[in-house]
């Protein structure tokens, strides 16, 4: 049917309840197609979403261990070896988009008992700190190992906030998550470099600047983008630390 109104063409007036029959048929077909089309679009869009990964809070596996709190430069928790279990170093975060600096600074280099909830994705584990209390005396004599330098590397990948990427949000990476990551890092959550290639089998790196200090606003333009950056890598027990030289950073896409 054309745009032109002719004597024979049906004419619709909205406030008249009687709709011409040919229009009733046409509009009914349109309504069914509209409703069905939206339903199919929802099915197609929702069922094909990308896999956000297997990260998440381990609510059924609460963390409670004794160890030492350190700032390297972000708060970490050093746990001594126990039998066959080697010594471990955990990254720490506070509740929500907050870091664990207060607890770490108040108990710096002290042996404490730390309770919290692990957020885990593969070999990346972040502990959301619940309670920190003075440990019993059996920890005396525990001296954590120093960092082991692994040389200078050029890594490609993405700077994420360690908590969301570990599974506090699914998905917790990518440009759609950039503002959230920025907010998390501002709040004190440790930044993590997610590398596309492994170093000694590890793809996740706690980040620091090239001098080993806290990163500031200089990472904002690089956050959540696919970048290439050089820096020195150290191993702290099972945790990799990437001292990124941001002057070498290049956005790839």
């Amino acid at each position: 049917m054309s745009w032109r109104q002719t004597k024979a063409a049906p004419f619709f007036v909205g406030y008249l309840n009687a709709v011409p029959k040919p229009l009733v048929v046409f509009l009914s077909v349109f309504a069914v197609c509209f409703i069905g089309g939206l339903g199919l679009a929802a099915l197609a869009l929702s069922s094909t979403q990308n896999d956000p990964g297997n990260g998440g809070f381990q609510w059924g596996n609460r963390f409670e261990q004794a160890g030492l709190l350190e700032l390297r430069p972000y708060p970490v928790f050093r746990v001594p070896a126990d039998g066959d279990t080697p010594a471990r170093t955990y990254m720490l975060a506070g509740q929500g988009k907050r870091g664990a600096f207060d607890a770490a600074e108040a108990n710096r280099e002290k042996t404490v008992s730390l309770r919290g909830v692990p957020v885990n994705r593969g070999d990346l584990t972040m502990i959301q700190v619940g309670k920190v209390t003075a440990a019993d005396g059996e920890m005396t004599g525990f001296t954590p190992s120093g960092p082991v330098p692994l040389g200078r590397w050029k890594l490609t990948g993405e700077i994420c906030d360690g908590k969301c990427y570990a599974g506090a949000m699914r998905p917790g990476r990518g440009l759609a998550h950039k503002a959230c990551a920025d907010l998390c890092l501002t709040g004190g959550i440790p930044p993590v470099f997610v590398s596309s290639g492994p170093v000694e089998g590890r793809n996740f790196f706690l980040m620091a600047d090239s001098e080993g200090n806290l990163l500031g606003d200089e990472i904002d333009p690089l956050l959540a983008l696919y970048i290439e950056v050089e820096g020195d890598i150290e191993r702290l027990d099972d945790l990799m630390v990437f001292k990124a030289d941001l002057t070498t950073a290049r956005i790839l896409k």
Partner: protein, 355 residues
């Protein structure tokens, strides 16, 4: 048509229109949030809040796509005209769905922080100088503000208060809102890991909206060219030839385009001819595509009516439109291209009276 402002003057057609809309939106959200996740191939499900954010956001985008397609579709095929009738309800519902999307974003991505969530929304990503990583949220905010303004001024009270030209210009901002939303999606969700279905849906929306508007624009230009009688044939001391009386259907109109682009609708009814502007005083609807019902010109968009002889809406309504003088020589209709002030009485031309 109404002589007093009430929130909504419900009738069966509006109720049916809204019912179809509500069913479609409810189905979309239900399938997206409840049904489709069962078919996902994921190690762990997407967060509920993010799933709902995506559901409401994509729903608003698709609704806006359909809204923008209704106009050109109705220009091409008059069977789509009934979709125009209650389109403002469609728009208001879209603004509501978009607001829920924004609320989920605020309550999830910008929450759980020492920073106020509204401050965080505006301050957490300030990379305005780079394309990749641009704060795409800004485009979403701009689009939402436009949708709010349009929803808030959608009532006929605002149409009357602002006047049709200003109101119409204000509501053309819907196109700016669409552009902002496309940018919001293109610089945000589409920058994630490859999602061919979502990318295809967004691309199809843009192609459909742009393609329909372009094709319809070309059609309108062609129509204007086709009405060349009025443009080309200046005759009889300033009168223009407006076609043959036999070419006009009874109770319908022929639309002629004058030199300056102004369109005039010449109606034939009860053995007479009358001419008025083609532009309805309500929302600039095309009166020449309307029909004579109960002795009145009836607009095809919202049914606004005008007397044929003087262009005045029948009492108690007060709308007025410009009228034109006509002359009949044999079977040829001549039109005086000078519009008379709105509501000016012009005696209808009686067909066959000059023989």
């Amino acid at each position: 048509m109404s002589v007093q402002f009430t929130p909504v003057i419900w009738n069966r057609n509006k109720i049916l229109y809204d019912a179809v809309l509500l069913i479609a939106v409810a189905l979309y959200l239900y399938v997206f949030i409840r049904v489709a996740p069962a078919f996902e191939d994921v190690t762990k499900p997407v967060d509920g809040a993010i799933l709902r954010t995506r559901a409401f956001g994509s729903c608003a985008f698709l609704m806006l796509t359909v809204i923008l397609c209704i106009g050109p579709l109705a220009r091409r095929d008059r069977r789509f005209l009934p979709l125009l009738y209650n389109r403002r309800h469609f728009g208001v519902m879209t603004a509501g769905i978009a607001a829920v999307h924004a609320n989920y974003v605020l309550g999830w991505y910008f929450n759980f922080s020492p920073t106020d969530k509204y401050v965080a929304l505006l301050s957490s990503n300030t990379s305005y100088t780079q394309l990749l990583g641009f704060p795409f949220e800004a485009f979403g905010i701009a689009a939402l503000l436009i949708l709010f303004v349009l929803a808030a001024t959608s009532h006929d009270f605002w149409l009357s208060f602002l006047g049709a030209p200003l109101w119409k210009a204000l509501h053309m901002l819907i196109y700016a809102a669409y552009v902002f939303i496309v940018l919001h999606v293109a610089l945000g969700a589409l920058q994630g890991p490859g999602d061919p279905i979502f990318t295809a849906v967004v691309a199809a929306s843009v192609v459909l909206v742009c393609g329909l508007h372009f094709a319809t624009g070309r059609m309108e230009v062609g129509r204007d060219r086709g009405e060349e009688t009025a443009k080309a044939s200046l005759q009889d001391a300033g009168w223009v030839v407006a076609g043959e009386v036999g070419d006009i259907d009874n109770n319908c109109a022929r639309v002629v385009t004058l030199e300056g682009g102004e369109r005039v609708a010449i109606f034939k009814y009860d053995g007479k001819l009358s001419a008025v502007t083609n532009v309805c005083a309500h929302q600039n609807g095309p009166l020449g595509e309307g029909k004579v019902l109960w002795g009145c010109i009836t607009c095809p968009w919202h049914g606004y009516q005008y007397n044929l002889a003087d262009g005045r809406a029948p009492a108690p309504f007060t709308e007025k439109i410009p009228t034109y003088r006509l002359k009949l020589i044999g079977t040829t209709v001549l039109l005086d291209p000078n519009a008379l002030p709105p509501g000016t009485h012009v005696d209808p031309i009686v067909i066959g009276a000059d023989a």
